[in-house]
């Protein structure tokens, strides 16, 4: 599941709970699920570091090399 799917599911759960048409059991389950999804999405947003790589094909093989993000790396 990716962030987008997670958010979509969470929205659905929140809407259902706000409508109030669920039994007590269902309601508790939904809340648990919602908390899980919320944690998952939060994690995706908090990841800090990215990798920037240069990709080339040499002799039929893929090669990656770190791509400098600063001018002096070129």
């Amino acid at each position: 599941m990716n962030f987008e799917e997670g958010i979509a599911k969470l929205e659905t759960i929140v809407k259902k709970m706000e409508d109030g048409a669920m039994s007590l059991d269902e309601s508790l389950e939904a809340f648990e699920e919602g908390v899980k999804l919320s944690k998952f999405c939060g994690q995706k947003l908090e990841e800090a570091q990215r990798r920037v790589n240069l990709l080339m094909e040499k002799n039929g093989k893929l090669e990656t090399a770190p791509f400098g993000e600063r001018d002096d790396d070129l």
């Binding site: 990716n2 962030f3 987008e4 958010i7 969470l10 929205e11 759960i13 929140v14 709970m17 706000e18 109030g20 669920m22 007590l24 309601s27 809340f31 919602g34 908390v35 919320s38 999405c41 939060g42 995706k44 947003l45 990841e47 800090a48 570091q49 990215r50 990798r51 920037v52 790589n53 240069l54 990709l55 080339m56 094909e57 893929l62 990656t64 791509f67 993000e69 001018d71 070129l74």
Partner: protein
Amino acid sequence: MMNSIFTVSKFNDIIKGLMEGSFEQIWIEGEVSNVSRPASGHIYFTLKDESSQIRAVVFRRIGQMRSFLAITNGEMVLCRARLNLYKPRGEYHLVIETVEPRGLGVLQKLFTETKARLAQEGLFDAEHKKNLPLLPRKVAIITSPTGAVIRDILTISANRFPATDIVVIPSKVQGADAPQELVGALHLAQKITDVDVIIIARGGGSFEDLSCFNDEKLARAIYECRFPVVSAIGHETDFTIADFVADRRAGTPSAAAEMVFPERKALTNSLQGLKVRLQQAHINQLISKKKYWENLTVRTKTPERLLEDYRIMLDDYSYRVNRSVNNLMVLQREKHTNITFRISDKNPLARIALLSSRLQGARDSLFSHWRLLGESRWMSYAALTGRLEGANPLAILRRGYGIITKIPNEKLICKAEEVAVGEKVKIKLGEGALVARVEEIMKEKQ
């Protein structure tokens, strides 16, 4: 002509004289290419057609005129020029005096034709275009590895969402080799499984500079790409075929970065909003369920109270049932009496008796009429029969008369002279008949 041996200078002189003398003012048209504008201010370019070309120069003084600003590669132009042979290099070229555009250049024509054709095939159709993901995990960027374009994209994306991985796939973005390299880069990008978006980017340039992005093969490769493609080619006002085929088009590489990378703050706020709503909804649910339960509890009674209630209910019901039944019976009785009374009125037996006597009366009447009728008829009949009888000739015979006829033809004999003596005659009597012979004929004397 002459057997003498030329020096190079002499020869060039002669040719120069011949050439420049043969042409005073030349009008010539062709396609512009290889334009170069060195610091000297002169403009050098090549004028060409499908199979031939010639160098041309516009000197600075004339070159500053507005018409010359428009000289770009690919343009068809009409020039007024003179011929010049430059002896130091033994090359000849045109010295351009005026220039005017001659309609669309080849490149421009090709662009228009290709764009129309691909549009008709449906390569630009909106339905085919893919949506960009909200938060891409990995973005592939096809661009020149040097220069401001990749720099800008990396900076902006780092500000907006620094956690997305980026793969830079280097490619030429100008020139004859560019289309093929770009297609190769696209295929490479699709070999990586977790790429969510591909950006093709290139900074500003002239129409010819950007023309590699009008390549048909590149357009098809973009169309068939399994990931969404964002094109950011040239400036805001430049539109190449790649821009039309791409799933999204950005006016500049920076705009592309904004399109593809979400702002972390905005997403975090959204998520926080959802969290708050989740908590609130949960609490509300619990409160309402509790209220509901409490409500039920209050309304539930102890067993004794319930029993009392039921007893009272039972008495009440019994009383009401009895009363109902009584009422019902009274009602039925009334109905019964009423009906009996009304029926007796309409007793069919009485009606039958009445009708019977009427029938009998009718019958009697019929019979008496019939009798009377019969009797009078009978009397008439009897009278007529009597008179008929009376007129019956055979009745006369009974009184002793006879009918005499001849034999054999049975002709009646009324006069004595109709017969001869000795003739046989037939006599019909009242009963039976006789055959007699005439003995004598007596004449009556009156």
